[in-house]
Amino acid sequence: MTFSYATTLGSASLPNPILTASGCAGSGKELSQFFPLTQLGAIVTKSIMIKARSGRATPRMAETPSGMLNSIGLQGPGVDHFLANDIPWLAAQGARTIVSIAGETVEDYAVLARKMRNLPGVVGLEVNISCPNVENRGMVFSCHPETARAAIEAVRRNIGGDLPIIAKLSPDVTDIVAIAKEVAHAGADGVALINTLLGMVIDTNSMAPKLAQKTGGLSGPAIRPVAIRAVYQVHAALPQLPILGMGGITSGRDAFEFILAGARAVSVGTATFGNPTAVIKVKDELEAILVEKGFSSVEQAVGYAHREVLE
């Protein structure tokens, strides 16, 4: 039997379903010392904003049981620097790039989308809407249907061409299915599930929040059950909507869990911090599992856990 490891996310065709997670692989340069970026289904860049950002004050990190908190605050040199330096470099590597963009206003998303037209090697856009909306009391875009919708509509109207738009959602909501429906309706070609959960660690020595910014995003294996639930729920409600799954993937087994729940591709984030080649390990292990289980393609396995199970 021939096995096809290829997958798609909207109009993007990827040779395999293993991607990096935004913010966990920079723009690829550091990881390229460990493996060629062409090995990846795609590299998802850290979220790019319009202007340069210093990010948040340190400490920015706290380890937690089977997880970690971060409050990087989207440090980066801004979109123009990114377009001038990183995109050509990534294209030269032959990497497939999914650019993650993040804004503080709806207009930001529109401006960023326009800049994303016709870039070499770019196969998709991940729209990080788990960001505070400065025009609305810092409320996170993806936490409310209206603002989630507005951000995605701004991207849809400005992107042009057929670059797939993947809306990245926050799990910190009462009803993630409602948000997924909203962004799909607003023109998203897929959803990325999940961003980090809002968490906090208090340092019991200093008796103050460990992170300078007090709260941070919880990632790693600890959150995997929440991520799997989100993917399963959204796939059940919107079986046609492509899902990029993530949250605590460290092995091929974990990635398989996401595929079975309904993801067409997965991102490996925090695991890279413990093991620089984690994403290649996940890729090799998932392929072996799919073959062993008798699937002839990724497609076949997507959402397989939703079938009626006869006991």
Binding site: G23, C24, A25, G26, E30, L31, F34, K46, K51, A52, R53, S54, G55, R56, A57, T58, P59, R60, M61, E63, P65, S66, G67, M68, N70, I72, Q75, G76, P77, G78, A212, G220, P221, T270, A271, T272, F273, G274, N275, P276
Partner: protein, 274 residues
């Protein structure tokens, strides 16, 4: 890489741990660090712990060795120091920048706080082999936190020790003794490693006396390879612009005079993107 623990000895408050690492040992330079996965296969600790390389030996009866000085501090380091000999650990090495070695012989002062003395002994040997004169100051809260093995001291001309409680050497802090030594020994460059507060204080002294200062900083690191941006600190570049640099790949060794100290819990005004 899987590295085998070949020896694990308690020395004062620390453990001196040697790992067999094969050819990798030859790539390590003073200032580099290693990152070790802790807690075993089913660990709830998902991040590696960083340790400065105390010594690396290219060959020996057990092949290439990397040696570390580990303080049993929290859960991860306690797990590590409790390991029996012959255990294997998962290690990424060598990482980070190393101390810069002057092309001409200079008079160097090496200053270490606590286990921060670890990388200085290898540096001392290297400096001496290049014809430098090397003096050393080590400080800690108390005697058993001074790590200064006999064989490590071979390369230094003088060793001054300070402890907060006076249980060894001079009672006081490193900075109490620095001015005199800098003047007496006509120091041209200071190399340091230790707690951030100490590095900051040394920077002040070095600026006062107009000597260069290379320090190895220690910020909490998640990835150790430059992708996560957790380990940053504000550093002023050649262009006069202050940026949040990664201490794991743009460091840990940095030019003390370029670091904006006292930046914990705040971004210094004027930092790029602030």
């Amino acid at each position: 890489m899987q590295a085998e623990l070949v020896s694990n000895k308690r020395v004062g408050a620390y453990h001196h741990m040697s790992f067999s690492v094969g050819d990798l040992a030859s790539q390590a330079l003073p200032g580099n660090f290693v990152a070790i996965a802790v807690g075993g296969e089913a660990s709830s600790m998902i991040l590696r712990r960083a340790f400065a390389i105390y010594r690396s030996t290219e060959k020996g009866p057990q092949g290439g060795l990397i040696e570390l000085i580990v303080a049993p501090h929290g859960q991860g380091s306690r797990w590590l120091t409790n390991l029996p000999v012959n255990s294997t650990v998962d290690m990424v090495a060598p990482l980070g920048t190393h101390f810069g070695i002057p092309t001409e012989p200079v008079r160097a002062l090496l200053v270490g706080g606590g286990y921060g003395s670890a990388p200085l002994f290898g540096l001392a040997e290297l400096l001496k082999s290049r014809g430098c004169r090397v003096d050393m100051v080590l400080g800690a809260s108390t005697a058993n936190k001074i790590y200064a093995p006999l064989e490590g001291k071979r390369a230094v001309s003088s060793l001054t020790i300070t402890t907060d409680d006076g249980s060894m050497g001079v009672q006081g802090q490193i900075t109490d003794v620095l001015p005199e030594i800098i003047t007496d020994k006509e120091i041209e460059i200071i190399y340091s490693c230790g707690p951030m507060g100490m590095l900051q204080a040394i920077t002040q002294v070095s600026e006062q006396f107009g000597v260069m200062h290379q320090c190895a900083v220690e910020e909490a690191m998640a990835c150790g390879i430059g992708v996560c941006m957790t380990c940053v600190l504000p550093v002023t570049g050649e262009d006069g612009v202050t940026r949040m640099l990664r201490s794991c790949i743009d460091g840990p060794v940095m030019d003390g005079s370029k670091v904006i100290w006292d930046s914990k819990r705040k971004i210094p005004e004027g930092t790029f993107g602030a």
